[in-house]
């Protein structure tokens, strides 16, 4: 029995003709699996490796270089909430905002709320500095986030 669903395997295979080497499909494959399963389990790594003619260690090596991907003992919650801590945001209260989220959610950066709804992370510059302090919900920016907006956001995401 394959670990990855047929649908997921098809999506990964569809990337293969785009590149002259199968290894180049590593990142797209990791993203596809990670999006759906909220982590990349060891079994998935093995199957990606088999599909791309790689050793599982090669896929694992690439995956762990990017702190982005979660391993199976530490999956993401439903929503990943990133709070920017880089300079433009820091100057306009980004660190305080991150601190506020930590208290509000009762987690440290990297941690997940008890109800499994939100994973909180710090981020380096999100490229939304005109709207500092900025946060990102999965891959969408929110600009000029005040503590009131932060509380409303937590309410929205916890529903």
């Amino acid at each position: 029995m394959a670990f990855l669903s047929e649908a997921l395997r098809k999506k990964i295979e569809a990337y293969i003709p785009r590149y002259p080497s199968k290894q180049a499909v590593t990142l797209p494959a990791l993203h596809l699996v990670h999006d759906e399963l909220r982590c990349v389990p060891r079994e998935a790594i093995k199957e990606i490796a088999a599909m791309l003619d790689l050793a599982p260690a090669q896929v694992h090596d690439t995956m762990t270089f990017y702190e982005f991907f979660r391993e199976e003992h530490n999956p993401l919650a439903e929503t990943r909430l990133w709070v920017c801590r880089s300079l433009a945001c820091d100057l306009r209260g980004g660190e305080e905002l991150l601190n506020h989220f930590c208290h509000k959610l009762g987690v440290q950066p990297g941690g997940k709320t008890k109800d499994g709804k939100i994973t909180l992370e710090f981020a380096e510059c999100l490229g939304a500095c005109e709207g500092a302090p900025a946060v990102m919900i999965n891959d969408e920016h929110r600009h000029n986030v005040t503590t009131e907006m932060a509380d409303a956001l937590v309410g929205e995401l916890s529903r």
Partner: protein, 445 residues
């Protein structure tokens, strides 16, 4: 002087629809059609070369000249990689172009591919740009549906594909060979150069890496011509035979302690003061500025007294900064302490060093630890000497590292030691704590 009229932001400022019909109604893809129908690829390369266009991604390398480094009569494939990793802190101009006017960028890519005889472009986009990803994908789909991508474009003997490739949150993948390694499915470790990508790049084939804004400029150079481009910006210094000039419009990002943070398009060579006062709405809360980061944090620090420096490719160097960088200006006010600014900057580089060169991996970590001590009021005077030694010894310039991340990591420290030493010394002598250090942060990491 007549008001400068934006070109890159023209459609964005009038909130034009970002997709194909509207873009074409505004004359879009006529520059590409002109190149494809009326010019040989070498003529396009020549045009871009004579325009003096320099890369907007940070290094300022002449774009057309880079294209001529490709091997002649290569059987192919040749690849174009679009660098949309845009991770230099305080920089967001590429994002605005891609989100709000993706076809302007795609048109530049098509022209570039035609010029360098590439039939495949990999668009390396940082993961954080979800909206840009979706708008670009939609725009690319439109091009396939309209015979502007794919086989025999517009009935000509030119075929081209553009593939979006999402990153995974690593600053180093913006360095062009880190980008290539990441694209190939490996960890984003920059390569030793030479060989440069034009000779051996993605998948070991000749490759051109260009920034999003650079490629958007290509569209307008073909459309409006070299004379137009050279009528904007700063001509080369006649006394400096190696100066390639600073021509054309540039997107400046303004952030930090100003009233209206924004992205504006202006001729290259505007001063920091004009950016702050005229476009950034002045320093916030009625305060005074203390200094600024002139072009992303890698370029170092300017004091308020240096704000009349023109932001062209040469200006920042005259006041000891590393260069124009990404032209992203971040202002900090007179209530900000230098230890807090440096703590933030050193933490970034320690976090983002890819770790393959020991001087960079260890040096960025040391600088961060020292700044952390210093802002907590636990600094020692000998720390300044360590900071100086480390910042001067890591980088491509001193010849100890593979890529320029380390030069950029050292520069703000070097500048701060030269320009704000009394403040640093006084912090150490008095044991003062910085504002940020006195906040009880849960997220101390």
């Amino acid at each position: 002087m007549a008001e400068f009229e934006p070109v890159l932001l023209k459609r964005i400022q009038k909130k034009a629809d970002p997709f194909l019909d509207a873009y074409r109604a505004d004359g879009g893809y006529s520059a590409f059609a002109k190149a494809l129908n009326d010019m040989a690829p070498a003529q396009v390369v020549d045009l871009v070369k004579t325009s003096g266009l320099r890369g907007r991604g940070g290094a300022g390398f002449p774009c057309g000249l880079k294209w001529t480094f490709l091997p002649k009569d290569h059987p192919g494939p040749i690849y174009l990689c679009i660098n949309a990793d845009e991770s230099e802190p305080c920089t967001f101009n590429n994002r605005i172009l891609m989100e709000e006017d993706p076809h302007q960028v795609l048109e530049g890519i098509l022209i570039a591919c035609y010029a360098i005889k590439s039939s495949r472009a990999y668009f390396y986009l940082r993961y954080e740009y979800g909206k840009a990803y979706r708008n670009l994908q939609r725009a690319i789909d439109e091009l396939y549906a309209n015979n502007l991508l794919g086989k025999n474009i517009l009935g000509k003997d030119f075929s081209c594909d553009i593939f979006l490739h999402r990153g995974a949150g690593a600053y180093i993948c913006g360095e062009e060979t880190g980008l290539i390694e990441s694209l190939e499915g490996k960890r984003g470790w920059p390569r030793i150069k030479p060989p440069f990508p034009a000779i051996e790049g993605a998948f070991r084939k000749p490759t051109i890496v260009n920034n999003v804004e650079t490629l958007a400029c290509v569209t307008h150079i073909v459309d409006r011509g070299v004379d137009w481009f050279k009528s904007i910006g700063i001509a080369p210094d006649p006394k400096n035979p190696r100066d390639a000039g600073s021509y054309g419009p540039k997107l400046y990002c303004i952030s930090g302690h100003v009233n209206t943070p924004c992205c504006v398009e202006l001729p290259l060579g505007v001063t920091v003061r004009e950016l702050v006062e005229k476009h950034g709405g002045g320093v916030w809360k009625g305060r005074k500025a203390k200094g600024a980061i002139p072009g992303g944090i890698s370029m170092g620090i300017m004091t308020e007294a240096e704000f009349d420096t023109p932001l062209d490719f040469n200006g920042p160097g005259r006041v000891g900064c590393l260069g124009l960088g990404t032209a992203a200006v971040t202002i900090f006010d007179d209530q900000t302490t230098i230890p807090d600014v440096l703590f933030n900057i050193t933490r970034f580089f320690a976090h983002e060093s890819c770790g393959q060169c020991t001087p960079c991996r260890e040096g960025t970590g040391w600088m961060w630890k020292i700044m952390d001590r210093l802002r907590r009021g636990q600094g020692r005077l000998e720390d300044l000497k360590i900071l100086e030694d480390v910042s001067k010894s890591i980088g491509i310039m001193p010849g100890t590292t593979i890529c320029g991340l380390a030069d950029g990591a050292g520069w703000p420290i070097k500048n701060a030691l030269a320009k704000f030493r009394p403040e640093l010394e006084s912090f150490i002598r008095t044991g003062e704590k910085s504002r940020a250090a006195s906040l009880q942060m849960v997220g101390a990491h």
